[in-house]
């Protein structure tokens, strides 16, 4: 659906060139929610804006829906942008227009909708985002969450195939963030629209993204299935995002375990395995005793997962390890 090939982007600032993107290659599949996570200045927004050519790459190609759009200009460019909706951190609604007029605006610009069609579509969209009764208000009279819902309705007005979200929830409180993420996720399912979501919040990725790319210093340092990337982070940047969320300092924790006897292992379970009575079975089969040092059971997108740190004592610990591996549990030995 969206493909970046060997993308380079440099900005000229006061005669010096600043590299914003380096050797970026990426594919976003149709219908998926793709996350791009990275710290401030990593190049996330720049990458996102290449898709609708608000920015152009210094080198490399951008493909959308099988077409090489890198050199699009004029009407071709404007038509491409109409196929792509975008929402922003600061909503970017027109303060001089009512909610209704804001949502109608892209359709008016397109010039292909009649007045009646626009009116009906606006009602439909506002109902979908839960703002049917706010149509005549001005943006300044709305809360942040409501503004972002207007932004979403506006982005969907011309029935785009792609929705770009640039830090769409970063200015919202946790509860509102959750409801807006849910809305984006629902829309993705209902309409089959491809979503690219830029964020620096791990939680946003976990809730809605099928796949994720981690960016650092203008490069993609890690990418793949959200669950894979976050259950088994490889790059230090990914690590920092995962552990920032869990509020855990691994070294500190290791010190805490110093006086705990036995072998310390970290188990990662995914999918249905999460809910199986694995530990009970294990104790029965191998005579190993376990105590739980820390743990969490949660979801990544719709994949349930569990992560448990155990200490194993007594019985046949090596056999227990083999049993675990056999039942699709990822085992990491923290202390022999």
């Amino acid at each position: 659906m969206i493909e970046f090939q060997d993308i380079e982007k440099t900005y000229e600032v006061d005669g010096r060139s600043v590299s914003a993107l380096r050797e970026v290659g990426l594919r976003v599949e149709p219908g998926e929610v793709f996350g791009i996570i990275g710290h401030s200045g990593a190049g996330k927004s720049t990458l996102l804006r290449l898709i609708n050519l608000i920015e152009r790459p210094t080198a490399g190609r951008v493909r959308v829906d099988g077409r090489d759009v890198t050199d699009y200009t004029g009407w071709q460019l404007l038509n491409l942008r109409r196929e792509i909706g975008m929402i922003f951190q600061h909503f970017n609604l027109l303060s001089s227009k009512t909610v209704r007029a804001n949502v109608a605006f892209p359709m008016k610009l397109a010039g292909t909708y009649g007045a009646q069609a626009i009116r009906e579509r606006v009602e439909e969209l506002l109902a979908r985002v839960g703002l049917a009764d706010q149509a005549n208000k001005y943006p300044s009279q709305l809360s942040g969450g409501q503004k972002q819902r207007v932004g979403i309705a506006r982005a969907l007005a011309c029935k785009p195939k792609i929705l770009l979200c640039d830090e769409a929830t970063s200015a919202l409180d946790p509860q509102t963030t959750q409801s807006v993420l849910e809305l984006i996720s629902d829309i993705n399912l209902e309409l089959g629209i491809t979503v690219v979501l830029v964020t620096h919040e791990m939680d946003a990725i976990r809730r809605v993204c099928d796949r994720v790319a981690v960016m650092d210093g203008g490069e993609i340092v890690e990418s793949g299935d959200s669950a894979d990337v976050f259950l088994h982070p490889k790059h230090p940047t990914t690590h920092s995002f995962v552990f920032e969320r869990e509020h855990v300092d691994e070294d500190e924790r290791r010190e805490d375990f110093a006086h705990v006897p036995g072998r310390i292992v970290k188990l990662t379970l995914r999918g249905e395995a999460t809910y199986r009575p694995i530990l009970g079975d294990l104790a029965q089969q191998t005579g190993v005793d376990y105590s739980i040092l820390s743990g969490r059971v949660d979801h990544i997108k719709r994949t349930p997962y569990g992560q448990l740190t155990l200490s194993l004592v007594g019985g046949d610990v090596d056999q227990a390890m083999r049993e675990l591996e056999r039942s699709d549990v990822h085992v990491e030995v923290i202390r022999q």
Binding site: L78, M86, N92, L94, L109, P139
Partner: protein, 221 residues
């Protein structure tokens, strides 16, 4: 009343007031018609804007600055030949409008440029992302978003024009300024002077009040 103000002929005051209204209103109309597109041009061709054109911006900006730095009274005199060509006379209301337009247009254009620059860049970017052409961005997003600022600019320009129009009286342009100079200053009729000044103050207050009301009405922030 006539004992307090022995020299005031109300009919003449009325005519002069009406002339002032015509001078300010007439020139304001042309200033808005010319200055708005000029301000948009300055904005669009400016640094990091939609149609960045350093050379064009430089030239237009220079001409605007030159016109703005010439004192109005000098512009008034220097422009006499041009004024005669345009409206056939350098006297009366018609004769004052061309120099007023020449002085007010660059002034207003800068105010327009400034208020356009104050429009949130994010809004421009969002409009761009919707597939709007530059023309659509200007007409559909920039101007409506900058409207309160532009109206405030029109108010400031109109008030400046009131004092410019009064100055035009010196060159025989008519209006309240003319009256103040001829009777109040040259013939020492202080009462006429006071009346004209009071009328000018009222006029300016009125303009400011209407302008403020409109700005408030169009501000949705």
């Amino acid at each position: 009343m006539s004992e307090l103000l022995p020299n005031v002929r109300w009919w003449e005051i009325g005519v002069a007031s009406w002339d002032t209204v015509l001078m300010v209103g007439g020139s304001l109309l042309f200033i808005v018609l010319l200055g708005l597109p000029l301000g948009v041009l300055l904005f669009l061709t400016g640094k990091r804007q939609l149609l960045e054109q350093p050379a064009l911006y430089g030239v237009v900006s220079f001409v605007v600055n030159v016109l703005r730095s010439v004192p109005f009274i000098i512009l008034l005199i220097v422009m006499i030949p041009v004024t005669v060509i345009i409206v056939g006379t350098s006297l009366d209301v018609a004769g004052v409008i061309p120099p007023l337009v020449a002085a007010g247009t660059p002034f207003f254009a800068r105010l327009v440029e400034t208020s356009l620059r104050e429009v949130d860049r994010g809004v421009i970017e969002a409009t761009q992302a919707m597939g709007a052409s530059t023309r659509q961005i200007v007409l559909g997003a920039l101007l409506p978003e900058a409207l309160p600022g532009i109206i405030a600019g029109i108010t400031v320009t109109a008030i400046t024009l009131v004092s410019y129009a009064a100055m035009a009286g010196v060159v025989g342009g008519g209006g309240l300024g003319d009256l103040a100079i001829r009777y109040g200053y040259q013939r020492f009729q202080t009462d006429v002077m006071i009346i004209t000044v009071v009328l000018l103050v009222v006029f300016v207050q009125l303009l400011q009040m209407i302008g403020d009301r409109l700005v408030l009405y169009f501000s949705r922030r």
